[in-house]
Subunit: 159 residues, 2 copies
DNA sequence: TTGTTTTAGTTGAAGCTTCAAGTAAGTGAA
DNA sequence: TTCACTTACTTGAAGCTTCAACTAAAACAA
C-alpha cells in the first residue's frame, strides 16, 4: 500500500503562495476596478479581450476560451454588459448556432479609460515586486502550469 | 504627460498565465473535492488549516488570515461547516469578542480521508508540470508577490 | 433522407461571496 | 470614570457563479 507522497518544503511554499495570490490578487484588482468603474476584474477582461480582437467581436465560445470561463458564466455576464450598453449580441452569418459578442463604441471608450489605471494596479501589485528575470521565470513556469491544466489554452497559441 | 507604461512581452505572458491559472486551477481542484466529498477548495482549506493548528482550533480572525478570506466569508462558511458537524464555535476564555473555531473529530476524519486525493490532484495539476528548480523559483517569486499584496501574510511568518 | 450525435448557447434555481450595517467587548485618553 | 475609538465578529440582502436542464442548429452515419 503506497503512502501518499506528501509535499516537501518548496512544494508546500509554492502551493501556498499560489493559493494566497489566487485570493488576494483578484480581490485587490476588483477593488480598484470597482472604484474606477463599478465593474469586476472578469467584466474588465471580457471587454479587454473583445477590444483586442479583430473587428472587436468574438463568438461566445472563443470569448469564453480567452477569459477561461464557462459559457454559462460568460452568457450571464454578457447579458449584464449588454444592459450597460458596452456589448451587443449578433447572429453569426455562417453558423446559426453561434452568437457573436461585439464591443460597442461606449464599451471601447470604457476600456480605454480604465486601462491605464488597471495596468498601473497590475504593476503595483505584482510586477513591481519582481526583477526582470523573475518575470521571465514566472512567464515560463506559469505557461507550463497552464499547459498542464489546459493543453490548448489560447495563451499558448502563438509561437 | 506621461504615457502609461504598457506591458512588455514577458510581463504580459506572466500576467496572462497567472490570470488563467487563477481561474483554471481552483476550478479543477473544486471539481475533484466536490466529487470526493461535496465540498469546495475553500471549505477544504478551512478544515486543513484547523487540522494543522495546535489543539485544532483557531480564532476566526486567525483562521481568516490563514485562508486569505474576509471575516464575513469565513463566518458564513463556518456556519455551513458547523451544520455538517465538522466544526464547532466556542467562546474564547480571555477575550469575549473572540470566537474560536474548533475542528470536531468528524471534521478531522473528513480531512484525513480527503487529503491524499487532494494532494494527488495538486501534484497532477501543477507540481508534476515543473522541475524541482521551477518549484523553488515559483516558491521564491510567489512569496515576493504575496509580500507585496500583504506585507505580513502568515505564510511569510516563519524564518 | 432520416435518425443520432455533437456543438453552441441560454436559462432558472441554488449556493456562494461581497457589501453595508449592526452588535458587543476591549483599549486608550482626558 | 467616562467617552470615543478600535477590534472581532455576525447578519441579511444583493449580486455573481455553478449546475442541470433545455433548445436549436450542424455534422455525421446508415
Amino acid at each position: 500500500m503506497t503512502e501518499p507522497r506528501w509535499l516537501n518544503a518548496d512544494e508546500r511554499r509554492a502551493w501556498l503562495a499560489l493559493l494566497s495570490i489566487n485570493t488576494l490578487l483578484p480581490a485587490a484588482l476588483d477593488t480598484q476596478l470597482q472604484a474606477a468603474g463599478k465593474l469586476s476584474l472578469f467584466d474588465y477582461n471580457v471587454l479587454a479581450m473583445l477590444s483586442e480582437a479583430d473587428g472587436r467581436f468574438l463568438p461566445m465560445s472563443e470569448l469564453a476560451a480567452r477569459t477561461s470561463a464557462s459559457l454559462s458564466r460568460l452568457s450571464h455576464v454578457v447579458t449584464k454588459l449588454q444592459r450597460r450598453g458596452w456589448v451587443e449580441r449578433e447572429a453569426h452569418p455562417g453558423d446559426a448556432r453561434v452568437t457573436v459578442a461585439h464591443l460597442t463604441e461606449a464599451g471601447m471608450e470604457t476600456i480605454v479609460s480604465l486601462a491605464p489605471g488597471h495596468v498601473d494596479a497590475v504593476r503595483a501589485l505584482m510586477l513591481d515586486a519582481m526583477t526582470d528575470d523573475d518575470v521571465a521565470d514566472l512567464a515560463r513556469i506559469g505557461e507550463k502550469i497552464v499547459a498542464r491544466l489546459d493543453d490548448d489554452h489560447w495563451i499558448l497559441r502563438e509561437r
